[in-house]
Amino acid sequence: MSAAHLSCDVAVVGAGPAGLAAARAAAEAGARVVCLDAFATPGGQYAMQPTQAESPFAATAPVALGRAAARAAGEAGAQILCGAEVFWGACVPGGFCLSVNHAGRALAVEAKALVVAAGAMERPLPFPGWTLPGVIGAGAAQRLLKTGTGALPLPGKTVLAGSGPFLLAVAQSFAKAGQRLDHFVEMQRPLPADVAKVFARHPGKLAEAARLGLDLRRSGAARHVGHMVTRALGTDRLEAVEIAPLSASGQPVMGRAREIDGVGTLAIGYGFQPVIDLTTALDAAHDFHAALGGWHCRADADGRTTVAGLWAAGETLGIGGAVPAQLSGRIAGAGAARTLGFSAPDVTGATQALGNARAFASALAQLYPPPQGLPVALPEDELICRCEDVTAGDIATAIAEGAHESFAVKTWTRAGMGPCQGRICGAGIAAALAQAGVPADKASYNRAHLPLRPVPLPLVRAAMQAQTEMETRP
């Protein structure tokens, strides 16, 4: 097998709000742009396109936005490739070589500049019973609702739980899909005065917030604010969920715990974390900020990372939602094109709007601070890494014996060495380290290496052949 070749000025990884905006801005400036996304259609997470025409989401604003953004980028001349998973990126003379699994065929994309807009992923924190079938991520629930016919496959009651404003968006999707949502369990209980302060400063957001509140009510769910899920119960699959109120110090009050029975689905999420595999592999600097979802790529106001020619946009730069994503995409796309000598449009307006959008996102994040440690103490035998069967006890022992960073926990226990490469257990390991008193900057993150996702050897070979040619050509 040999790899297909594409050559361009600017390659964009990710076709979510950020990537599509970047592709459009760079293409409008006259750059040849290739935009790659692993999903089957452009749109990313927020603007995910339904697969069924009769989906109740077909006419929603995010879906329309995704369609419009993809059309605009295409009309500006950007080539958008879906079903294209970027599994490696390397610096080569004159730019970058991306190795792509394009629907099972190897593709090598050569680009003078690279914009990484890889978005966010769920931040699953382990709790007792979290591996029972029937327990899913809040983001996964959202995806099932949005992409399919709008139905969750499992019978029984549905509980949506966790922390963060995103939970409200998922509740809204339940309402939109006409799916029953029985219980809504939110850790935080922001003071009305603090909420009022945020919206006084960002009045434009009020309507959207009111709609989210209304839709939550419309979903008919019983609301348990200031509560958390302390256990998922069941033998072969989820049967019941235990919830408890939180004390002032944020600890669950187990004396007042109660069970919700007959549960078929528990959708749970403690916020999102930036996708930083490609930017860490390319050795860009990263910073930690809890309110931004933890480790995220460092960039200046134009989206320029610490690696020459490498730009970042959207939630790779920190969690903030679709509006900052779109704005930062436009800024980075224009910046990348301008640096290559194209006359990109002025983005001062976008830069100002981005500041404002980020301020709102960060105010919101402060109302709903994502938990950093483990939300509930775990029994010794609770699995944290499902790929390699590593338990909470194994990890606690390793930390006690001297594994004082994410990398060491991984090498000492194998947690994160399986097929998911830490995507599922990484947040749990970070939380276990935080729990043990290791500060985040010391705990650090595990840098990605070839390949970013498992890829059949013949594809790797074909792509590396292409990369070798780019590296060695005169």
């Binding site: 390397a90 592999a281 050795d283 390699e388 390793a398 014996e401 001297g402 594994a403 004082h404 960073e405 990398f407 060491a408 090498t411 000492w412 194998r414 060495m417 399986g418 097929p419 490469q421 010391k442 840098r447 290496h449 070839l450 390949p451 498992p454 890829v455 059949p456 050897l457 013949p458 790797v460 070979r461 590396m464 052949q465 990369q467 070798t468 590296e471």
Partner: protein, 393 residues
């Protein structure tokens, strides 16, 4: 993490498998070692190792000490209940051409003469020993006693045993330089400026040993060499039964290198180096990615030998740095000012030797032979750092 002590009897700089082994042997001999590791224990080349433990194709001069090194690993596994997956699965050296056949037959004849249980395999014999190795091989060498250990768990076990025997080991404690007073070692200076006094200091810091020794006016002839590996997704147990390696050409000519094995986790670990990769000295302080050419040769070799594995998914890759000496042998012994010792220069196969070197060097430091019989003297002759200073003189 922990506050540093102000003094120690012996300081070991470096918490890879070699430093950990030195600390274990010192602690067991009653000295109270303090081990200082710059980052995480076993996080450098130790954690990136394929950790084969055997004597096959390691050169005849070291055969005696190597055989003992393997015995020490076996005994250590028995004593500790083997929490580190010590498994004697055997080693196959595949032969692709007439030249390889000559080398293989040479190794086997000479090692057998020294008492090794190795032998030659015909293609039919190989089919029984390694059924999935169906590539175009003319035959193979077979060393049934070569073992592997899990490199992370073995380092962890050595650390735990060293602590149980009285060693203090601290991670994230980088040493910046050596203290020399009146011509002898007085301790170490930490990166944060703190000083720890000690009469004896052991440099077991892999390719970093050379930079640290400079602060005591010593120049160790060690250079870093990049080494790397690929891991493919977990396959059923028994997919690859042995350690599969290229037969090394004899006479010290670098002839390419292959090692393929299935880890306890089921993952297939494989690497083939055809041309050694240029390694600038500062490279060892960075995280590097596998070179594309290395990926090509490694995949091609795996696919040639194991056609049924040609399309399995790649999962992971990593790069580490070994310490290379001019004659491909360790430097273990006293060096420079009195009280300074070195145990580095693994040349890519230090896992195997580590427990033996730890005992050898601990013996030299406390003035007792901890290796049996003539082996302490043999090791002294083999690994003496002075062999280079003498050549220079």
């Amino acid at each position: 993490m922990t506050t540093l002590p102000q003094s120690a009897e012996v300081i070991v700089v470096g918490g890879g498998i070699v430093g950990l082994s030195v600390a274990l042997a010192l602690a067991e001999a009653g000295a109270k070692p303090l081990l200082l590791e710059a980052k995480s224990f076993g996080g450098a080349v130790t954690g990136g190792s394929l950790a084969a433990i055997g004597t096959h194709m390691h050169g005849l001069a070291e055969y005696g000490v190597m055989a003992h090194a393997c015995d020490l690993w076996r005994a250590f596994a028995e004593r500790t209940g083997n929490p580190f997956e010590h498994t004697a699965q055997g080693q196959v050296g595949f032969i692709l051409d007439a030249e390889g056949m000559e080398s293989g037959e040479g190794w086997v004849a000479e090692e057998r003469a020294l008492g090794a249980p190795c032998r030659m395999l015909t293609p039919a014999g190989l089919a029984e020993v390694e059924p999935r190795l169906t590539g175009p091989v003319l035959g193979a060498t077979f060393a049934p006693d070569t073992a592997t250990v899990n490199p992370f768990l073995a380092a962890r076990t050595v650390l735990a045993e060293a602590r149980a025997a009285g060693a203090v080991a601290l991670d994230h404690a980088p040493v910046a330089g050596l203290l020399v007073e009146a011509g002898r070692i007085a301790g170490v200076c930490m990166a944060d400026g703190a000083e720890i006094r000690a009469g004896q200091v052991v440099l077991a810091s892999g390719p970093w040993s050379q930079e640290i020794s400079v602060s005591a006016g010593v120049c160790l002839p060690l250079v870093p060499r990049q080494a790397q590996c690929l891991a493919a997704l977990r396959q059923p147990p028994g997919t690859i039964r042995r350690i599969v390696s290229a037969v090394e050409s004899r006479g010290g000519v670098a002839s390419g290198y292959t090692q393929i094995q299935q880890a306890g986790s089921g993952q297939i670990l494989f690497n083939t180096v055809v041309d050694f990769i240029e390694t600038p000295p500062e490279a060892k302080d960075t995280v590097r990615e596998v070179p594309s050419g290395f990926v090509l040769t490694s995949i091609d070799t795996l696919a040639t030998l194991f056609p049924s594995l040609a399309e399995i998914p790649l999962l992971r890759s990593w790069v580490r740095f070994e310490a290379v000496s001019p004659d491909a042998r360790f430097l273990a012994g006293a060096v420079g000012p009195e009280g300074l010792w070195v145990c580095a220069g693994d040349n890519g196969s230090g896992y195997c030797r580590s427990l033996m070197l730890g005992r050898f060097l601990a013996g030299e430091i406390i003035g007792a032979a901890l290796l049996p019989g003539a082996l302490q003297a043999d090791a002294r002759a083999l690994y003496a750092p002075q062999r280079f200073t003498q050549v220079a003189a």
